[in-house]
């Protein structure tokens, strides 16, 4: 019996030992507890987040462009794309699947809650925390904003869903409330500045600079203010970014002229700025035409001129996932995997870009034909996304393509819109037309003579009455002593850069409000031509339409549907889902 007892005791002892060590450590994946130990892990999390974010490009661009007026389907298009084109997607349409958006949101939530914990436990110092936290929270805000403008509502959740039950923490929120919530989130961020100290922006990744890779937080907040019709606040945010480098002297060329839409007279060689150029100013000579404007769509992330234009540019490498989605969508069949699903709408070709006449009388807008699209073998093909691939070089750091998220042109248009509504239609006019270096702010004395060169070209009602911040700009340039060289001296404006003539205020614009409403239409139409296919169109149309509807019920609907999107369907001879009621503007939100 004693032996039996010994035996039982030893069994029990032996039994308890291995239970404790039955758990294994995974080597294939990283267990939750082992992550977020150090600031390097924080950077790994941010890299993972942006890698995941890059997978949204296709969906974001398709939803913003194909639902609007500039993009149309070809006969090759999949049924899913045809449904998006007609604004009548079925439930399983992958283009309206919110899952990828929420993958990014949930990754953000997970990162943010872990960052908080890291800060609490001193695994990250406040300065490291501030810029990383703000970046991630801003990216989440951007994704929610995109969901909001397409679906009209979101399930809003800022805590990570770790367990299935956590979904109950999500609140359904309509677009109006969402915008306010998002603004509040952005206003409360630790910082709105770009990364200052992160290794991510200091170094290159496989030849790619990440300087323009992360979300510009001020511009996002500006866009949110603008969407919320909070024009002054929006203008401030935009002005902050426009002010970049203003206090530097011209020797800091990069910084000094960044975001300026500047232009010079082109004589020879490859110009290092973007614009529709005619050699030696020979604007009447078609042979002298050089579309240097489109070079911005093939500059690498380390290219100097590219950094002057691009504020948010996400490059894709051919050898690494995530895969660049646009070559398949837009390229002619067979060319670099092209399926030619989508093409410029006939309406955009004929009536948006086609109606423009350049300063020299050439009847097209070179930002359209030869810029955003080309005619290849009799078919119009969107080429904005394929210039990289055509210029493909074997050197590392050369993208197969990029996701065009924010650039100086976008900023000009948005700022102009905010300034216009804030009561400065003239300033908006200058931004859209021939720029601050144009004739708008050349003031004259009562006797008709001009003020001296060092006092004119300061935005204001006179040289002595400059506009207040954020509407103050200095574009002075005087070569005789005392010399004055200011940051805005070469700003040529959006249309100026495209070699297009100014659009005068109409004679019937009597009141300032008339001018504002007129200018708003000009800006939004200019946005189509400048930013076409870059994924801004739906947001722009929706923003204006909502604004107009609030002022005059129905005016926005007429704007969105009758004046813009319906024209695409009419021209293509199809019947799209009727967007003439506001409720129809939004896609169904299938959870």
């Amino acid at each position: 019996m004693k032996k039996i007892i010994y035996f039982l005791v030893s069994i029990v002892t032996l039994a308890t030992l291995p239970i404790a060590c039955v758990d294994t450590l995974p080597e294939e994946v990283l267990e939750h507890d082992k992550f977020y130990a150090h600031v390097d892990d924080a950077d790994k999390a941010i890299m993972g987040l942006y890698g995941q974010f890059m997978e949204l490009a296709g969906q974001v661009v398709i939803l913003n462009e194909l639902r609007a007026d500039l993009l149309d389907v070809t006969p090759y298009a999949t049924t899913d794309l045809q449904e998006i084109n007609l604004n009548s997607p079925s439930e399983n349409n992958p283009w309206i699947d919110i899952r990828k958006f929420y993958s990014v949101i949930q990754t953000c939530n997970d990162i943010l809650s872990n960052f908080d914990q890291m800060l609490d436990e001193n695994r990250m110092i406040k300065a490291e925390y501030d810029e990383r936290y703000s970046d991630v929270a801003a990216l989440r805000t951007w994704v929610y904003f995109q969901l909001g403008i397409h679906f009209g509502k979101v399930a809003y959740i800022t805590e990570p869903i770790i367990l299935l039950d956590d979904i109950s923490k999500a609140r359904e929120m309509n677009l109006d409330d969402l915008i306010i919530e998002l603004i509040r989130t952005m206003e409360n961020l630790p910082t709105l500045e770009d990364y200052q100290a992160s290794v991510l922006t200091q170094q290159q990744l496989d030849g790619y600079s990440l300087k323009t890779f992360f979300i510009p937080k001020k511009l996002l907040l500006g866009d949110l203010y603008l969407f919320n019709n909070d024009y002054l606040e929006a203008a401030k945010m935009y002005r902050d970014v426009l002010a970049f480098g203003e206090d530097l002297d011209p020797t800091h060329r990069n910084a000094y002229i960044k975001n300026r839409l500047y232009g010079y007279t082109w004589t020879s060689g490859t110009p290092d700025w973007y614009g529709i150029l005619y050699r030696d100013g020979k604007v009447d000579d078609f042979e002298a035409l050089y579309n240097a404007w489109r070079l911005m769509f093939s500059g690498t992330t380390t290219d100097r001129s590219s950094l002057e234009e691009w504020i948010w540019l996400v490059a894709y490498d051919a050898n690494f996932k995530p895969q660049y989605p646009f070559l398949e969508i837009f390229n002619p069949v067979g060319q670099q995997g092209g399926k030619y699903w989508l093409k410029p709408s006939q309406y955009a070709v004929d009536s948006v870009w086609g109606k423009e006449i350049q300063k020299n009388g050439f009847p097209f807008d070179a930002r359209g034909l030869t810029g955003a699209f080309e005619n290849i073998g009799g078919e119009n093909v969107v080429t904005k996304y394929s210039y990289y691939a055509l210029a493909q070089s074997a050197s590392t750091g050369w993208p197969i393509g990029s996701w065009f998220l924010y650039r100086a042109g976008t900023l000009h248009l948005r700022y102009a819109e905010a300034a216009n509504r804030a009561g400065y239609p003239d300033l908006a006019w200058a931004f859209i037309n021939d720029g601050l270096s144009g004739g708008t702010y050349v003031f004259k004395r009562e006797d008709g003579s001009e003020y001296p060169g060092d006092s004119i070209k300061i935005t204001g009602t006179s040289p002595f009455d400059p506009y207040p911040y954020p509407f103050n700009f200095d574009a002075r340039y005087k070569t005789t002593p005392p010399r004055v060289t200011t940051a805005w001296r070469s700003n040529v404006g959006v249309r100026g850069r495209a070699s297009l003539p100014n659009i005068p205020f109409p004679a019937d614009a009597v009141t300032k409000q008339d001018s504002i409403l007129f200018m708003e239409q000009v800006i939004i139409s200019e946005a189509a031509k400048e930013l076409g296919f870059e994924g801004n169109r739906w947001q722009d149309l929706l923003r204006i339409a909502r604004r107009l509807n609030k002022e005059t019920p129905g005016a926005g609907t007429t704007f969105l549907w009758d004046n813009n999107i319906k024209k695409k369907y009419d021209q293509a001879g199809v019947v799209g889902n009727d967007l003439s009621t506001e409720a129809n503007w939004y896609l169904p939100f299938h959870r």
Partner: protein, 1031 residues
């Protein structure tokens, strides 16, 4: 009468039983036969066959055994006089010695539904024990995966017991558990690594199939447990067995396909359907029949004329009659201290497809050493080296030679012919249509799988007292598998990778499993009085497993002579792999209680921990089982029922688990996410911290009968299994950001019956034993958490839905072909091309529109079109013995199962330039044609070839698996004790209506793929002759 001993504890009821033991065949008296009552009394029969034994009471059980005879258990039932007939050892009655987890016992005393397989494997030409499981036991629905040597068998015990977790039974080889599951995906199309091919069938002494009572193996036992016991030295004298056989595989049948002329005519139709004019078609090099004529400037006429004017039988060209050979030797012997068995085997089995083979070298050393009177040490070690040259058997028209040769146009040829018709030694590249050159797929490519496996168990057993012993053992299972694949530059049309042209392709993979197992247990074996016997065990075991898989893929080496991945260009190189670690711990116990040798009880229990459980799940999950059996024939009231030798009722209920639920699904983890050439980390899963193993509840009722002096034996089992906590991969709310959520939300049930009848029909000079095994089950999904799953494989869609069996075929119903446009117009059905409706016309399939209210044929019109589960399956065995001749024949069958014929869907789709089946001559061509095959239309715009009941066939078959004739020579030399010569034919005859090459196949191990024929190599007809020599 020689009373050997009689225990003192004689009760008042004890009395003497006498009788005569005779040979059941010729009635001669048998001397020297043992008659025992375990632990109570024992006797040996005298020269006249008479015996006498003191039995303790009227319910005692006599165990009768003797050399050369099959042992029997006979209930006394109060009789005084019992005459006993014994059958020869080869007789497969119900009563056998059964190898159980706790030792060998007589099958009469087993309360569970366990079948035991004890064949005379030394004569078998089969290379691994899978064969035995297919033919010699009920309840396992098994099918050879393919005819490639060593491909293995997929086995489902008592229906399907899982949907997403591991589905194969657990093997316990000499006490060492090993999971027959795929740790990593092979790079070879449809190849599943088969651990059983590492065990030589001739090394196997006994196999026990545990269909219930698997609770003892806790979370590993859900799919049933198969115990394998390898050879052991029975006697001290040295015995040597040698086995040699050699055989030939015959070439197999082929699909009837179009000849060159018919294929041209089909091509012409296809080109016409795309708007080519007849002049344009005639100008194509495959049609142009102008013989090239040399001119000063080059050639006039079609320079490709000699390329496209052949009549090649591509399918015949891939098969060849091939040889196989096998040498085997075992030596057994020892002394009273140590006993050992050493075996060596060499196998070279060539496949029926050219250049495929399986070579194996295996060695085994089993020993048993008595360290002292109370302590002994046993070890079982085996080392196996296997080398397979394989072919792709996946549903891949470019790389699977069976498909590639079937769709290859007969007018093409394997080698280049020049303008004047001279043949070059160089192979043709992929042809005009992009189809591979099958010659190249067999001769110039490489697809090798090499494995090394070491398995060893070492056990120390200590008898502490007469009743108690403890035992500790350590087991090691180490397997390394390497794969090398090379596809050459000529002959295959590769798809480009990221816009890069691929010239050749090479892949390597290494897969390594290291599994360490320890087991420590104590046994208590006590006969309390003559009436009560207790046999109990308690133990614990721990297993630590580590599996690692690494692969690399590279492309475009400078020459086909450079076949390793190092030579591929760096830009396109791809690497990957996985590492899995998992651990299993269990505390287990079992107790058998036997009262009066009539009432048998078994309780077993295992409490298991596993690293795979979710963090919030219980640490231990406990799986109990109980079984009871009543030997009714042992009761006194059966005394007069002379015809009934044995009647036993069994009832069992038990639970088992399945922890093959993914190594890390129960923990929250992060996975790498690319960012340029670097990695970030993102969330990897929507974790279910409560993830727990699946639970299978098994209820089993069984009846065993032996009638007419054991000449008719019947075993019936009825069972109902319920799978609870079944792992489902469901779609969570999209706002989680994840596609999948793994939970225990499902349940499923199997209800079935097994019948095993074995009978000795002739018992004279000619002995004929016939065995019939019939199994049936019905599988039903009970709960899927409100979801419904569609799974796609090889173009088939299978549906899993509550109330239906798992994975039924789900597609369109087709009702023939529209003969005329008018017929089509009457139905007025259409499909959508984009958003544009296009109507069906004459010559298109007439699909059934299931959704009323629209005239659209789309996914909503799919219904269940077939059930892959058989109504009945089983086997028929025959064993005939006449003098020194024996004949064994095994037939297996499956009735009522539906099969998706992928190959036919490729050979009758009429929508590509591929060659088609002969049946397509009957395709619709002109208005009014009444046929079941639609018109040829390139690209299949109407979806005539979509997944529909066109491709579903009745897969019933009966197959003559093997026939063996053996002759036992009468040798009385000193050296050679016995020589047996034999001849075996395998797969001689298959009766089936199935139009594929072989109705027996399997795609992977997932039960959802059951019934999908991805076009595997058919099992060859083989004839072998061999000899067994006993020294």
């Amino acid at each position: 009468m020689v009373p050997v001993h009689a225990q003192s504890a004689k009760s008042n009821t004890s009395y003497t039983v006498t009788g005569i033991i005779t040979d059941a065949e010729n009635g001669s008296a048998l001397p020297g036969i043992h008659v025992d009552i375990a632990g109570v009394a024992s006797a040996i029969s005298e020269d006249n066959g008479s015996y006498s034994i003191q039995v303790p009471h009227k319910s005692a059980l006599l165990h009768v055994s003797g050399y050369g005879y099959a042992s029997r258990d006979i209930a006394v039932k109060g009789r005084n006089q019992i005459n006993i007939e014994l059958y020869d050892k080869g007789y497969k009655g119900v009563q056998k010695s059964t190898y159980t987890p706790t030792g060998d016992v007589s099958s009469t005393q087993v309360a569970n539904s366990w079948s035991v397989i004890q064949e005379n494997n030394i004569l078998s030409v089969a290379l691994s024990p899978d064969v035995l499981l297919q033919g010699y036991t009920t309840g396992i629905n098994s099918a050879f995966r393919s005819g490639v040597p060593g491909a293995g068998v997929s086995m489902y015990m008592h229906g399907f017991n899982t949907m997403n977790a591991g589905s194969m039974p657990l093997f316990i080889v000499d006490g060492l558990p090993y999971e027959n599951t795929q740790y990593a995906q092979s790079l070879l199309g449809n190849y599943v690594s088969n651990p059983l091919s590492s065990i030589d069938i001739k090394d196997i002494e006994s196999i026990t199939v545990m269909k219930d009572g698997t609770s003892l193996y806790g979370v590993k036992g859900a799919n049933g447990v198969i115990l394998i016991k390898t050879l052991r030295a029975e006697h001290m004298e040295t015995k040597i067995n040698a086995h040699v056989h050699t055989g030939i595989n015959f070439t197999t049948e082929t699909f009837p396909v179009l000849n060159g002329a018919s294929h041209r005519s089909l091509l012409s139709e296809l080109y016409q359907s795309q708007g080519f004019s007849s002049l344009e078609i005639q100008a194509l090099p495959i049609f142009n029949s102008e013989i090239p004529v040399k001119q000063p400037w080059g050639y006039d006429g079609n320079v490709d004329y000699y390329r496209y004017n052949h009549e090649t039988n591509w399918q015949k060209s891939i098969y060849d009659a091939n040889f196989n050979q096998n040498f085997y030797l075992n030596v057994a012997g020892g002394d009273d201290i140590a006993k050992y068995v050493l075996s060596l085997g060499y196998l070279d089995q060539q496949g029926t497809i050219k250049n495929t083979n399986f070579q194996r070298f295996n060695t085994r050393f089993n020993s048993e050493v008595k360290l002292s009177n109370k302590v002994n040490f046993t070890s079982n070690m085996s080392f196996v080296y296997g080398n397979k040259d394989l072919v792709n058997e996946g549903p891949d028209n470019k790389l699977n030679p069976i498909l590639a040769s079937a769709i290859k146009s007969p007018f093409t040829t394997s080698h280049i012919f020049n303008e004047v018709g001279d043949k070059s030694p160089n192979e043709e590249p992929a042809d005009y249509f992009g189809n591979s050159n099958p010659y190249v797929l067999l001769n110039n490519m490489m697809m090798a799988n090499i494995n090394y496996r070491f398995m060893g168990t070492f056990a120390l057993n200590w008898d502490i007292t007469k009743d108690i012993n403890i035992s500790g053992s350590v087991g090691l299972n180490f397997n390394k598998e390497r794969e090398r694949i090379f596809y050459p530059s000529v002959g295959i049309d590769f798809d480009p990778i990221r816009d890069n042209i691929v010239t050749n392709e090479m892949k390597h993979r290494t897969d390594r499993l290291f599994s360490l197992f320890t087991d420590f247990h104590g046994n208590y074996h006590k006969r309390l009085s003559s009436d009560h016997l207790i046999d109990a065990r308690i133990g614990l075991r721990f297993q630590n497993n580590k599996a690692e898989n690494d692969f690399g893929q590279a492309y475009n080496s400078s020459s086909d002579d450079f076949r390793t991945i190092g030579y591929g260009i760096s830009l396109l190189r791809q690497i990957g792999g996985s590492i899995g670690n998992w651990r299993w711990f269990s505390l287990y116990g079992s107790a058998d209680y036997n009262y009066l040798s009539k009432y048998f009880f078994n309780v077993s229990l295992s409490s298991d921990a596993s690293s795979r459980y979710g963090r919030d799940a219980q640490t231990l999950y406990t799986y109990p089982s109980v079984a009871a059996a009543w030997l009714v024939s042992g009761e006194e009231f059966m005394m007069d029922a002379d015809a009934i030798d044995l009647f036993k009722i069994r009832l069992s209920y038990g639970m088992s688990g399945n922890d093959d639920i993914g190594n890390y699904n129960g923990m929250q983890y992060y996975v790498p996410q690319n960012l340029f050439g670097n990695y970030g980390l993102i969330r990897g899963n929507l974790v279910n911290l409560n993830l727990k193993p699946e639970t299978v509840h098994r209820l089993n009722a069984g009846f065993d009968f032996s009638l007419f002096k054991d000449r008719l034996n019947i075993q019936v089992d009825l069972y109902a299994n319920t799978v609870n906590d079944m792992i489902l991969i469901t779609t969570p709310d999209k706002i989680t950001g994840f596609n999948n959520y793994i939970s225990n939300a499902g349940s499923m049930q199997n209800i079935g019956a097994d019948l095993n009848v074995s009978t000795r029909i002739l018992n004279g000079p000619v002995k004929w034993d016939l065995g019939v095994m019939v199994s049936t089950y019905s599988n039903k999904v009970l709960n899927l958490n409100g979801e419904e799953f569609l799974t796609e494989a090889a173009g088939a869609i299978v549906q899993t839905k509550v109330g239906q069996p798992l994975g039924v075929f789900y597609g369109h119903q087709a009702k023939g072909v529209y003969a005329t446009q008018a017929e089509a117009d009457t139905d007025n059905l259409h499909v959508l091309h984009g958003l544009v409706p296009v109507n069906f016309g004459a010559g298109d399939m007439r699909f059934v529109n299931q959704t009323t209210g629209d005239n659209l044929i789309d996914d909503n019109d799919r219904v269940v079109i077939g059930n892959p589960n058989p109504d009945l399956f089983g086997s028929i065995t025959n064993h005939v013995k006449f003098k020194r001749w024996t004949l064994n024949a095994l037939m297996v069958y499956s009735i009522g199962n539906d099969v998706y014929n992928y190959t036919r869907s490729q050979l009758e789709n009429l929508s590509t330039y591929n060659n088609q089946a002969l049946s397509t001559l009957n395709r619709w061509k002109y208005p009014g044609d009444i046929t079941s095959i639609p018109k040829a239309s390139f690209g299949d715009p109407m979806g005539n070839a979509r997944f529909s009941d066109r491709w579903i066939e009745d897969g019933s078959y009966i197959k003559l698996k093997s026939v063996t004739v053996a002759y036992d020579f009468d040798f009385s030399w000193k050296l050679i004790q016995n020589i047996t010569a034999f001849a075996t034919a395998e797969n001689l005859l298959t009766l089936t209506n199935y139009k594929g090459l072989d109705p027996e196949f399997a795609m992977g191990q997932n039960p959802l793929y059951y019934g999908i024929d991805p076009s595997v190599v058919p099992q060859p007809k083989t004839v072998s002759v061999g000899v067994k020599i006993e020294l």
